[in-house]
């Protein structure tokens, strides 16, 4: 034993040091919530699905960059890179993004209602508004893992594999803000809608079912009626696709095979997101503390 060894009593001591502010409390709630939704400090079964979906989201970027790494810069690899433009990345992994949000968002709010933990949170420095903000951030951060980070990784890879990296950056300077904004739009939309629907129930399976029903059922109805009535605008009922089309509209050369302009998709995205925010406000801000 070292001569410095001491027996220390685990005594209760008063803390009179500095205390962090409201922002830190919100950030703490967001960080804890998102980490737990991703399976941190929980069993491996909870971790498997988020990790697998994250890997799936990176798969297209990994394939393209892997081929470029294997075959170097050639016309073949240039064609492959063009085959996966940044504008199309979200639609390529749309199912993965949807599945990820279905897994993550109910986990953020349903347990708090099920275990009645809300009263405990609201007895701390967290207000109802802070709680909603914290949970929104908690949804946004992991969702950016599948909506933003893979596209940024693809961009960085393309820069590194380019024959003239500086020239590539100059030629694609506007792609970075487009990638960031489109990733934020998609993540915010799926996160907010998922939270809103999950806030309606304390039971996770119901939240998952309700979320899927909201995104899928109107899309099917819109598609069937759109074809039958030759009314392409009914396809705007594809609520799952709305933010992805809106984000694609940020890139030049956007073409919509259904002849619905990006502004209409953008309006649909805003309307659904606002509806979701209103639901969250009613569910959390409307109740007396």
């Amino acid at each position: 034993m070292s001569s410095d060894a001491r027996v220390v009593d685990v005594a209760f001591s008063r803390y009179d040091g500095p205390r962090s502010g409201r922002g830190a409390a919100i950030w703490s709630l967001a960080r804890w919530s998102s980490l737990r939704a991703l399976g941190a400090r929980r069993g491996w079964k909870v971790k498997v699905i988020p990790i697998a979906l994250t890997l799936f989201a990176f798969a297209p970027a990994v394939v393209v960059l892997g081929l470029r790494a294997l075959f170097g810069s050639s016309s073949f690899t240039e064609e492959i890179a063009k085959g996966l433009p940044y504008s199309d990345y979200s639609s390529t992994v749309a199912v993965v993004i949807l599945a990820f949000s279905v897994v993550i968002t109910p986990e953020l709010v349903c347990p708090d209602r099920r275990d009645r933990t809300l009263s405990l949170y609201f007895s701390t420095a967290i207000s109802r508004g802070d709680y909603v903000l914290g949970k929104e951030l908690a949804a946004l951060m992991p969702l950016l893992l599948v909506t933003l980070v893979p596209v940024l990784a693809l961009y960085v890879g393309n820069v590194l594999f380019a024959v003239h990296p500086v020239g590539y950056v100059q030629d694609h300077a506007w792609d970075v803000p487009r990638i960031v904004v489109s990733g934020l739009i998609v993540a915010f939309y799926y996160g907010t809608v998922g939270l809103a629907i999950s806030s309606l129930t304390a039971r996770r399976p119901f939240a998952v079912g309700g979320y899927l029903a909201f995104l899928v059922v109107p899309a099917v109805i819109g598609s069937v009626l759109g074809n039958a009535l030759d009314a392409p605008h009914l396809r705007l009922l594809a609520f799952a696709a709305a933010p992805i089309h809106a984000a694609e509209g940020l890139y030049p050369g956007y073409s919509d095979p259904q002849n619905i302009g990006p502004w209409l998709w953008g309006l649909t995205t805003c309307a659904i997101a606002l509806l979701a925010v209103a639901v969250l406000a009613v569910r959390y801000l409307g109740e007396e503390e």
């Binding site: 209760f12 409390a25 400090r41 009263s119 420095a125 503390e289």
Partner: protein, 318 residues
Amino acid sequence: MRQSPVGAPATVPGDGSPLVEIEGVTKRYGGVVALDGVTAALTDHAVGLLGANGAGKSTLMRAILGLVKPDTGRIRVLGMDAAAQSWDVRRRLGYMPEHNALPMGMTARDLVVHMGDLRGLPRRIAVLRASEVLFQVGLEEERSRLIRTFSVGMRQRTNLAQAIVHSPSLVILDEPTNGLDPAGREEMLTLVRRLSTDLGIAVLMSSHVLEDVARTCDAVVVLRDGRLVATRRLDREGGEGRRDVRVRITGEASAFVREATALGLGVEEAGDWLLVSGPDAEAVLRGVRDAACTAAVGLSELRPAGPTLEDDLVGAIG
């Protein structure tokens, strides 16, 4: 019993300035009056809030936390306005809700660290203090277990640990012994008493069980139908009223009176009872025992001469 007329300040006296000042607080839920003009100043380090179910205890506690805004009146906590500065108030207070509100999927340690974080502790300090408070409530060995695997008593102790992790000046305990078995209740009452006596944390505890309040608090505030009906200091040393006793004798009462008088005690007849007085409580009790023994009579009942705290408060609770 000191009764305070509704609307007039009722002060529970202590050594310092009031921890909580309540001025004419009224709160209605629709047609139901939860609090009706409650006025009180709580200065003692451990105050019990006593009342039957529905008396307004939980509403008053939530108003003190700033979670419920009074329709009229105001509450100052540690010198801060509970409604206007609710964020600051909640950061300085601890709260243990009545119902189980713990996240079942978390470990006790993670929860306590998280609640420390949310109440403004730096992360490193929150981790350190979580270990300290879990040790204090006797959960140091169980800190890494999921809360869903805990017994009711362990959950209540976890609940208490999260309420004190940030070193609050005042901790509010809403029915902390609810649902506990006798052993768990005993442990919880001991812990609650330690908060104010050993750990330096002021306590405001609600209960509908008089014994719980009497064992853990220095003062009691009684609510009935949303109105404050009594405040009283709990004198642990035994006051003037507890010195004399009244006894009921089986056998020859005159022999008992003679022997007690010979021992220097004063004895008066009051119906079936004999009122026995003496210089102090111990001398009276010893004298009663010796007089009964010498006079060869039995004691069928022995009570304090004046009204007991229980008599006072049960009457006030209604």
